[in-house]
Symmetry: C2
Subunit: 645 residues, 2 copies
């Protein structure tokens, strides 16, 4: 512990320190706030970024923002991207480009939101506003770790706050001398002891370097410039996202807020020689000139440029995503790549979205810290896939007008599901039950009185709802509330508040048989220590039960349903937002598209199912209405203390 | 001018004083802010109301809120009301009630928003936030007029600020002695001279009483209690708006934010005798007890009540809505009635919405003050209709279980168009052109080179777009932007910013003939002093031109359109938000419903039309693409100074 110096201040203790307040750090903070964690949030910048950087949010990331109630604030300023135009050299005059295709990227099966373009700083502001409103902690700007280590316990010793961290702040002089917005922070030290640390501190992560975690992969010689301008041009697709290939190089564009357009422009490659690598000139005039050449026969100029930069393409991934399950790295700190797919910020935010609620459960005592290993298990494969696809996509822009460029729609089809983020499916682990195929008995005799599985045999009957995979996020579905008749989206009923959600798909409830099954289920839930205790079990696990039937709302009354589905509060009466029907009165267009949750999820409404969803809306387990004991076993395993029988 | 005392302060001058900061006053302020008027806004309360009062916004009022960009802030907390359940005595056991009908009030032809329930204070807050963000002036709370008069000019004298007003503020002692939240403000006087004053100061309007304007009409003996509670009940429709009749009285309910429910409960009638009128006890326990009796066999109780009040039904309307075109009265100051229709706040806000932009035009010098007379011409008939319908509706609740109560859906059909507010159509006046029927010549030979009407003969060819009436607000329509392919609502393209809007419905643009007509139109617009000067004529009139064609977007490029439809700015390049198509790529459900503006507006796409819309989105004139001179004449008449030829 040499070198620590507290600058006169006493040592403080917190559950969690989040290093970095970019989009990934802020999503982590959103969870920390929602889970009421005692945390600190530091960033070495003086304030959030003002211009430039990342600017694309994909459908699943929009759903994540909405899970904190924030989609509307993004959509207010963002540019939806529903179409990508592809441009290539004219077949009969290769000196000029022409539009060769229009590719619709509006695919409702991938999510309820479009891809949108919005400057990173505005996305950060939406999250900062959320934290303020939600009672989260302020970001401590101009604060950086200067020392950090994980204290090893001696023998059986239990160290409650094993992470020792020294924080520093730069003074004015240091700041005025620094050129890149961050200073060395050699003064004003403070010591913090934490249970966990998350490094969301970007590609040059201090946390990663401090723990000497290597990045694997390398840079290429391909260079790109990027500029956010209000273009003055006669190019017709200047408000459409474009992929443009010419014999002078390639361009990718993203329409943005306030008349801005983002241009990614291919620049000359770096030259390697025995003397070393020589990079081309990559100033803003170089970027504009390169763009002018590529866009011929169209003109391009601008008076207003809000940001420009440049980069050399490379793909790298960290050797490990965590140290001793105490230090975790998310986002650019563990995966860097080209911005060409426009998905980096999304994968980074999704890393945090995956990790945050798990830290919440562990710190609230609702789960054993073993579950934290699932972060790396679940997110490392996504990062690996990202790196692999980024190599393909950056080559696509590097290699000139290829057959893929002329057939862009087909080429993009390889990427679209990954980009949307909604197809990501986590494998079996502590938080995702193993999938079991149907047996003769289980597929026909579901209406047993007891449970068809022993406590040891935990598994997911994926075959009961084949429209979603176990491990995948539950898709958005329109439902109608039993009590008020209003339309709700299923995802909005299970927001990011730390609750697990037990969705009861009962099928039609007008028949006596289903009501008998629901009564039995209600009794089991009510008497369960882990499921029945007013949304919070004695072990700190929070769980909400939602009933989704498939009968017309008019055929049954709210008070006809068993008590477990009608939570009652002495002050506020009944909770009318727990019973829904998939049978919408106000149907939109084709009911098979989004009007009927049973059809979309492929649930047999004569059998129904239970679907246990994690706090991040991913499906942990699918089983029969009679399998309550299996759900209990699954959740009990996560809980630190043994439940009293 | 006796009695004025400025308390040591100097006299100040403003364009406009708005008295009252309830919903009507705030909508007036929203216009004043958008039109950059020099105004002051006073209210005798210490702050906005916190609880209770009005709580319903109808479709047109929601559109008005959206015209200032505010619908999302209302919808965030509000309860949409899509269904009204009617309850009546059971036919075979008249002591208890049963549900006798469900009436859908979701009618897309009446607007794009549902009716919603939200507490008045929260609606006021949305408008206060808008004013802050828009750079409007703060409301001066605890400020009330104490003297006011309109100075008469002597002979030809032109008095620029003819309204003399003395303002007073109450001190702490006065406030602490007052019981109803307003004090007598006998001290701290200040003198203001204004061009105009708007009294939006409610049923007990100081402004109205100061000018001795009488209210006509009277009170009945019918009493109602009102309470906002979180009900604890087994009544199944407690989250649905209900109309309930029993032999013990009647109830109307409105579902609200934060689990609240508004109950209007019929109480015993007042008793008249030679000694005077005796009112029944109307405290909260009386209201609850009356409600319990009416709701049998269901239970009702509460722990939380945010507000309660009571009222005696009456309907009254002011003899005049303005004094010398200098003092205007809006909202409850000129029409009071029962809250039973839930439309009072809406009509009040719509009064202000009608008046505000007219004051803006006059004060900006873009129109002669004569146009202000249209305020009373347009709004008085609406208030008269309101009073007439309110008598019917309050009798419906007063008279017990009538046949109308059992046939509620049919009964409500008489009111629905008026309640929605979107059917209101203003008659011919300075701001609405007279309607002319088609002649043989005009209906067949529209493609003349010159104009088919002389400047004197201003009229609206309503027959060119029979889906909307001249004088009615243009209905919402989904359109696709030519440049970015995104879906926009027509109403969002013509927001409340003081601009008149010339909508050019050109029909299909792929043929050569239409392009020739558009080129001619473009030349005429560009060379027009009043239409062509970059959205602001030399006379201060602001006008925006929007082209809405009916061809597929892919068949034509943005730059193919004539220059008048592609405004260009030296810094920001082209304005890509002026050309749209009604032919949507992303069609919803049935295209005839809302997918095609031409079908909905009943415009013949082979002929097209020009549609001139006022700043409040009401249609002023419909004419042929060749009738530019008639549009010019119409607007020239409004402008104060004669345009140089």
């Amino acid at each position: 512990m040499n070198g620590y110096a507290a600058d006169g201040k006493s040592e403080s203790k917190v559950d969690l320190v989040i290093v970095g307040a970019g989009p990934a750090g802020l999503v982590l903070a959103a969870w920390a706030s929602r889970c009421n964690l005692k945390y600190r949030h530091i960033d070495d910048k003086l304030q959030r970024i003002e211009n430039g950087r990342a600017d694309a949010l994909h459908p699943r990331t929009m759903e994540i923002m909405q899970s904190f109630g924030l989609a509307e604030f993004i959509l207010k300023d963002a540019c939806p991207i529903r179409e990508i135009a592809s441009w290539n050299p004219k077949r009969d005059d290769e000196e000029v480009i022409e539009r060769t295709g229009r590719c619709s990227i509006h695919d409702e099966t991938l999510g309820r939101y479009p891809q949108v373009g919005l400057q990173q700083g505005m996305i950060e502001q939406v999250l900062l506003d959320f934290l303020k409103h939600d009672g989260g902690h302020d970001v401590e700007w101009n604060t950086t770790p200067t020392l950090c280590e994980v204290i090893e316990p001696k023998g059986d010793e239990d160290i409650e706050y094993p992470v020792m961290m020294q924080l520093g702040r730069a003074d004015e002089e240091e700041y005025s001398n620094c050129t890149n917005g961050t200073a060395s922070a050699s003064k004003h030290h403070e010591i913090v002891r934490a249970k966990y640390v998350v490094g969301a501190d970007g590609a040059h992560s201090w946390v990663r370097r401090n723990f000497r975690i290597e990045m694997e992969g390398e840079k290429t010689d391909a260079n790109f410039g990027v500029m956010d301008i209000i273009p003055i041009t006669n190019f017709p697709d200047v408000r459409i996202s474009c992929t443009i290939h010419s014999h002078k190089g390639s361009i990718m564009t993203v329409p943005r807020e306030h008349r801005l357009m983002r241009f990614y422009v291919q620049l000359p490659e770096s030259e390697r020689s025995p003397e070393g690598v020589r990079h081309p000139s990559m100033d803003l005039p170089d970027i504009l000139n390169a763009a002018k050449g590529i866009l011929r026969p169209y003109d391009l100029d601008f008076k207003i440029c809000s940001w420009s930069s440049n980069y050399t393409i490379g793909q790298r991934i960290a050797k490990t995503f965590s140290i001793k399950n105490r230090i975790f790295l998310v986002g650019d700190a563990v995966h860097t790549h080209s911005p060409t797919m426009g998905v980096g910020m999304n994968v980074s935010m999704q890393d945090s979205y995956n990790l945050g609620w798990k830290l919440g459960m562990v710190l609230q005592g609702a789960a054993n810290s073993d579950i934290l290993a699932t972060y790396s298990d679940e997110r490392r494969p996504v990062a690996t896939k990202l790196i692999e696809l980024d190599k393909k996509m950056s080559n696509f822009y590097r290699e000139g007008p290829s057959e893929n460029a002329y057939q862009y729609e087909n080429f993009r089809a390889e990427f679209s599901a990954f980009l949307a983020g909604s197809s990501i499916t986590y494998g079996t682990n502590d938080l995702v039950a193993p999938i079991k195929k149907p047996t003769e008995r289980s597929s026909h005799q579901h209406q047993t009185n007891g449970d068809c599985s022993s406590k040891q045999d935990i598994h997911s009957k994926s075959y009961l709802a084949t429209g979603v995979s176990t491990g995948q996020r539950i898709p958005p579905q329109e439902l109608e509330n039993q009590a008020d008749g209003l339309t709700w989206n299923l995802q909005d009923i299970i927001p990011s508040d730390g609750h697990w959600n037990l969705l009861v798909f009962s099928g039609a409830v007008t028949g006596k048989e289903t009501m008998t099954r629901l009564n039995t289920l209600s009794d089991k839930i009510t008497s369960s220590k882990i499921l029945g205790n007013k949304n919070q079990s004695s072990n700190g696990l929070q769980l909400r039960t939602i009933l989704i039937h498939s009968s017309q709302r008019e055929g049954i009354e709210y008070h006809d349903f068993p008590t477990a589905f009608r939570p009652y509060d002495d002050e506020k009466g009944y909770d009318y937002w727990t019973i829904f029907t998939s049978c919408l009165k106000i149907k939109k267009g084709n009911p098979e598209d989004d009007g009927d949750a049973y059809q979309r999820l492929k649930i047999d409404s004569s059998r129904g199912c239970l679907m246990l969803c994690r706090p991040d809306q991913h499906v942990a387990m699918i089983c029969d209405l009679e399998d309550v004991a299996m759900v209990e076993s699954f959740l009990e395993r996560l809980v630190r203390k043994t439940i009293d029988a």
